[in-house]
Symmetry: C2
Subunit: 469 residues, 2 copies
């Protein structure tokens, strides 16, 4: 522990703690969605948690960590599912939640510190000028903007605006480097893509500039269908209509909605498959028309609900994205999930085959999104876990159906993204983190620049022994 | 003229005129873009112009026309290019411009009378609540909302919201029928599509309900390229990024911009091809980044222009859609245009072939749009007209390249839309207009229900002799 004592001395009044409870809590994120990650990461611990309150304090910390060779794992709300905030090599967890100021709100543009919570940002942008973020994860009330950018891909809003990585969805990122004399660097344009979704390995985000959209009084709708193919197809066709301004469109296969969506159960019949939709007020009537002519029944719409009824319900996006999984895990701890791509030209065919081949093991959940001018059906099904061996077998069978698995049961960048070592991200990391102290273990390529993607997800970071003795 | 005298008696104080100058002016629209239509329609005249001020006066007129068997051709701003407002069978022109009230402006929803001018609507919706129409034609300052819906397909805004016909882009239309006792009918959902783009043959629109979008401070940009394939490709790729909030994206082939865009000439080199863009403020920097890495040079941006400079320029959309053609015709009266579809999967290949095959005769102009979740490159090139025979030959050659021509040199619904007689539109017409008095001659199917599309566009409405003696 002596290096933490030395660190503390160098930090002056920058808040640092070694309180066991705090350290334990801040060394975890929501990796427990995965039984495999849970087994591997349960005992991983940082040595201390540091909470800088501004860029000056952050730079002081980074200089000290450089001098003392202490790993630094940046953490936002800890809502990630792939151990983005877990200190795989020990060292310190860099808790960014004190750097949470909103710097400015302009015409379509937000500048904020990375630790700002998404819902708090939107409270302020709505109050200031009727604006909101283009997209957010289902963990809107707990996730930070910096954590979302560092680890997220998209979310609620991606059915309209595409994925976070697309031009215009992140305008600027300011990074701190981890060097003898840490620097601040502003990235715009394509360079943003090197840091977004890099899980904090190649720069500590200190400020973000994000586009804002005009806030809408989104209407939550639940539209039920007798069967899964009907719900899937209706969702797919509706997702193609840009005249319907939607913020969210997801399909969940029966019997999951009635079984797991406890507070919405009263609206649902047992076997119902469901479309979960957030629509702008002017899209509600045409949306319902499109859904009903495809066999849908509108069983809930927030614009017709009483205030009391609305108070009894969580926001609709708490039924979508990884919250779909969360609702199921709450009811049944043997459940986890998969992240599966579907063939761009015929997702319905592949999804139908999957439903037939794995009737008990996989329960369908699709998020409709756009990317690069196309509509996608991203498949995030519930998965009834038995063994790792069976999981790998199922993943292989899905691949054979043309549906690649993006493994949410591995903690590395490469395994989660089906990627070889990424020379561009690593080149930036050599600049911003020459000692490799930022979130060690998250990028296999740093240890092994020749790493070629291995779908078994079997990589074990050698340094993890240190953090999980 | 006795039937007009009888009509006048029945109308009471509904304004009607037979003033020669007025009748001549109101019997025309912008068909003169086409030398073929100009030759055919130059002398077509109504017998009178009626200008009802409200639904009551309109119904009175329609009842009278029923009783007297007088054809009724509804007219908005007269900005259409295919004789939508031309009284092919004589009778009366129904001038809708006095029915121009804005009934209500709600959260994302406008209700208005059909004669309201688009720019006036937007002045009011902006002032009221910072809202604007999702789309408008390039004739925004003169076209009416009813005329746009009755004859338009899309326009400025379709790169974001898709075409007018898509669900959600028109919310409700109220129609008056032409019967012994005229009725008012409200259409929603799919039925809207029977009246939209039907040129007033199957119902007189008396009220429209349209979605509004949050108004943006659109930035006009001109981005020039050394060559046409470069401009085309950059536009095509940029159009796919839903993270860039654009209102308009068009490409115009050199030398047309320098030659015809007189007031913007100072920004352009002689051979420059051009992207004309309207971008939300937060899209400007990433848009410029994307364009410049594809060889573009930003030669004008309104957010950096002085007030004086801006005052000297027309709005950017006056360089797009059919205004591209208009700017060219102003400089060279031998020019007209074509409307050509391009292969959805490889428009650039086909457009490249066209540029090589018709180097002098066709000058490229592409409007990038979305429809049904896909991006399209709609080709509206300038065309140097010589003879009708040559025009048909060129159209055939374009077809052979996989680029179907939607004939803007014919005045019928079917010939312009490559359509057989449309049983659904005609069925509605039998209900709303059993005598066939609404805009006779616009729908071949009314005369000939077995009509099968003939690409030569050679149909001549037999009744036209009466209107053009």
């Amino acid at each position: 522990m002596s290096r933490i004592v030395a660190l503390t001395e160098r930090l002056g009044d920058v808040p640092i703690t070694t309180n066991e409870r705090t350290v334990k809590g801040k060394s975890r994120d929501a990796f427990w969605y995965s039984p495999l990650l849970k087994a591997q990461l349960e005992n991983v611990r940082a040595e201390a948690v540091v909470s800088p309150r501004d860029e000056g304090e952050l730079l002081k910390l980074l200089a000290a960590c450089w001098a003392l060779d202490i790993p630094v794992t940046a953490r936002g709300g800890g809502t990630g599912n792939y151990a983005q905030a877990v200190p795989l090599a020990g060292g310190v967890v860099l808790d960014m939640k004190s750097m949470n100021r909103i710097v400015s709100i302009g015409d379509g543009v937000l500048v904020a510190e990375p630790g700002a919570i998404l819902s708090k940002i939107e409270d302020e942008t709505r109050a200031d000028s009727g604006q909101e973020l283009r997209m957010h994860p289902s963990t809107r009330e707990t996730a930070t903007i910096g954590g979302f950018i560092a680890g997220g891909s998209g979310g609620v809003g991606s059915v309209r605006w595409g994925m976070l990585r697309e031009p215009g969805n992140i305008l600027r990122l300011r990074l701190a480097t981890l060097e003898e004399e840490p620097r601040l660097i502003d990235l715009t344009g394509d360079e943003i893509g090197l840091v977004h979704h890099s899980y904090g390995v190649n720069g500590i985000i200190t400020e973000v500039e994000m586009p804002l959209a005009p806030a809408q009084n989104w209407v939550d709708l639940l539209i039920s269908f007798d069967d899964w193919p009907g719900a899937l197809k209706a969702g797919w066709e509706i997702a193609h209509h840009e005249g319907l301004w939607l913020k969210e469109l997801a399909a969940v296969q029966g019997p999951a909605p009635h079984k797991y969506f406890a507070r919405h159960r009263k609206y649902l019949a047992e076997g119902d498959s469901l479309l979960c939709v957030m629509a702008a007020p002017n899209a509600v009537a045409p949306l319902i028309g499109e859904a009903e002519k495809r066999g849908g029944r509108t069983v809930y719409r927030s614009d017709r609900a009483s205030d009391e009824e609305k108070r009894s319900l969580p926001p609709l996006y708490h039924l979508t994205w990884n919250h779909t999984t969360l609702q199921a895990i709450k009811a049944d701890s043997s459940i986890t999930y998969l992240q599966v791509g579907t063939p761009a030209d015929d997702p319905l065919g592949a999804l139908g085959q999957i439903a037939e081949r794995f009737p008990e093991e996989i329960v369908g959940h699709v998020e409709y999104t756009r990317a690069g001018g196309k509509t996608y059906a991203s498949f995030l099904p519930l998965y009834r876990f038995t063994t790792e061996e069976r999981l790998n077998q199922v993943a292989q069978e899905l691949e054979d159906l043309g549906c690649p698995c993006y493994n949410p049961h591995a903690y590395t960048y490469e395994e989660g993204n089906r990627s070889d070592a990424d020379p561009a991200r690593l080149a930036l990391k050599r600049e911003t983190d020459p000692k490799g102290l930022m979130n060690p273990g998250k990028m296999i390529g740093w240890e092994n620049p020749d790493y070629a993607y291995d779908p078994t997800g079997s990589y074990v970071y050698p340094g993890i022994k240190r953090a999980a003795p």
